[in-house]
């Protein structure tokens, strides 16, 4: 009789939401600008001096900000600048990448305080989570040694692994990522660690790292292309990471760059030509080889012909990807990052130049069209750790809104 169609509506907000937003705005402003006085903050955020004063007092009591020595800068009472207190918050990051897993602990300003690494046992998520929980625990204990305050100030666990999620990926893949992608990982880890857990794909994590402490720091419109075992893009739009309807936005590895001509190999998606997986295939190397990173560095330094061939192919694809992303997003910059040695990354980004013409070619640019970001194999793990910091302290639309009684996903 009554069809009981669910009502679709956005969430409302109240003073609490506004207040939470204002605190985030203060922290964000201090993060981006280094140090600011209360008066600076009032001007920059359009709030009154008094409101800022109250909020800063609060944040100081909470141990998130601290004052510096007063500075005289002209007429009037000297101002007292404030800065973020690194020990104000901590977070753990977890990266799952086929055969191995890494953990990282960071503080409020993104400094790395502990790290751990382990091989994942064969047998998929059920057995893997044991290893993971052990590794997380080890990292937490390590962190507690360096920073005893961390016990009460851990804001969450960020998890990064290759996407896409919720899709029927190749069931024959040897790393059983499909199994991982279907496994209720967040829930299991939330129970196992008692922490707030959120999952993102590895390129989103890389972008989160670039935003917090890397090339995209302080930028509101940036695209991070992440070249790892696969390839993906982390989309920072209006200052927030964009997830898409199903959390799979930015999975550009699946783009069919030449869908209807050429050999079957050429018809394959972008990922088959611009990724470490494809490089390993050319080099006939096992991607699981723990020495791979060093080997790639050697190959790159030795100007190996196969490396050069891969670079040509990958650069061709990336050049087009850059042009497409610039055209679609009109970003302030594009950051190329990835889990490869800096030497190799340098060769790759050089080979991508000169860039194709696009609307990004404008006279007044403050950031380069394409720049190199993190090429640390730990970058994704750092980004995973940065996610809870960002989720907890960065201003965002969703942070203002009242939360629904029962979560939807």
């Amino acid at each position: 009789m009554n069809e009981m169609r669910p009502i679709r509506a956005k969430s409302g907000t109240n003073q609490e939401g506004a207040s939470a937003h204002n605190r985030r705005v203060m922290i964000d402003a201090l993060r981006v600008n280094g140090q600011l006085s209360r008066a600076d903050l009032a001007r920059a955020t359009a709030l009154t001096k008094q409101a800022v004063s109250n909020i800063i007092e609060d944040l100081e009591r909470d141990g998130l900000v601290a004052s510096l020595a007063a500075v005289r800068k002209g007429r009037g009472q000297p101002s007292t600048p404030y800065r973020l207190v690194p020990e104000g918050a901590f977070a753990i990051g977890l990266q799952i990448d086929r055969h191995m897993t890494r953990t990282i602990a960071v503080d409020l300003v993104g400094a790395v305080l502990a790290r751990g690494e382990a091989n994942l046992p064969a047998g998929g998520p059920e057995r893997g989570t044991e290893t993971i929980l052990w590794l997380i625990d080890k990292t937490r204990r390590e962190l507690a040694e360096v920073a005893p305050q961390s016990k009460d100030r851990l804001v969450g666990l960020g998890v990064a692994m290759p996407g896409p999620f919720g899709i029927d990926t190749d069931p024959a893949d040897p790393w059983m990522m499909a199994l991982w992608q279907r496994f209720p990982l967040s829930e299991t880890l939330a129970i196992g660690t008692g922490l707030d857990v959120r999952l993102q794909n590895d390129s989103a994590a890389a972008a989160t790292a670039e935003k917090l402490v890397g090339a995209a720091h302080g930028l509101d419109q940036a695209i991070c292309i992440y070249v790892g075992y696969g390839i993906g893009a982390g989309l920072i739009l209006d200052g927030e990471l964009y997830r898409g309807a199903n959390g799979n936005a930015g999975e550009i590895g699946m783009i069919l760059s030449r869908p209807e001509n050429g050999t079957e190999d050429q018809r394959a998606p972008l990922e088959h030509r611009a990724s470490i997986a494809s490089l390993c295939k050319i080099l006939d190397r096992d991607p699981a080889d723990p020495e791979l990173y060093r080997h790639l560095d050697d190959f790159a330094a030795a100007s190996d012909a196969r490396i050069a061939a891969w670079i040509t192919e990958a650069a061709y694809e990336l050049r087009r990807a850059v042009q497409i992303l610039e055209t679609i997003f009109d970003p302030q910059t594009i950051v190329l990052c990835g889990g490869m040695p800096p030497g190799l990354a340098r060769l790759l980004i050089d080979a991508i130049h000169p860039l194709l013409p696009s609307i990004a070619e404008r006279r007044t640019r403050s950031a380069p069209r394409l720049q190199l970001g993190f090429t640390d194999p730990w970058a994704v793990a750092i980004g995973a750790a940065a996610e809870p910091i960002s989720r907890t302290f960065d201003p965002s639309f969703s942070a203002i809104l009242k939360t629904r009684s029962v979560g939807s996903g």
Copy 2:
């Protein structure tokens, strides 16, 4: 001495911002769900019954919502549903498209109440604005006849014209769009009409129309591909139109789909193969011909061989564009719209199928991967008119924040 670097920070908010947001949320909920009781609204927005009651009372007094007859739906007191009042607000839209200009007047629910059309005189913006101001005035008077309340309830003027903006476009283009794109149009029209003016490109306007009253109604993640004289995409991300760093996001016409192989013609951007401009070239027709629309319809009905050739080429490009957009955005749906006869649009969308494989191929889909939107030549003008409505009444992050003293652009 003091380098005086500008402080970068996001804006704070206060009760006023929260309240404004809540009112917008109510209006949005009523727009999407048709009619809702106060209790429904309270549940859907996570606000208290009391808060909703106060807000609805306000909105009713402001003439934006009205109650309907009470309905019994089970145990308990019958509920009183509320609906939007179409006469609650009005807006004017202006489309500038090379040789001509169109105006539209809409009400709060997006119904068209008046329209006007005129040819633009040669001579560029200086002379053109005279015609435009005259046309807007004519439309306002027409609107006032149909809806006298409109005089006090006009919320703004939305302007749509081809992008990209701020780029040195081809100076030889015969329509002098480059001149228009550099002309301070918003300022001139704001002074000339006394209205709040905002400018967007035509594909963004088409997307705004689809969001308010079209295929993207109530969707938070949707991409609208607009095929007009050129081609572009309007990006609806998290319920808001995405503009990019310089307002040029979605200008996909500039994508070099085959940048390095083939003839010079094949190397040309997407726009040269999938646009009405390219179709006119094939048909050897003047794009400025006022009868073009009817002719295209005839050609399509007659299965003209040149039309078929264009459709094959355009469909090839669009098939790839759809796959790229799906892969990058992971949207709920993609809407194909454009200023062409429905028959032709139907042929085109059919030719695009079957779609290329992508992450959008998931078992549970509520909306089709690709669907047909407005194919009315007035769609962009309607979207232009919808923009002030959306700007004034849709929930958005920026609407919550306090405004800075002096705008930035």
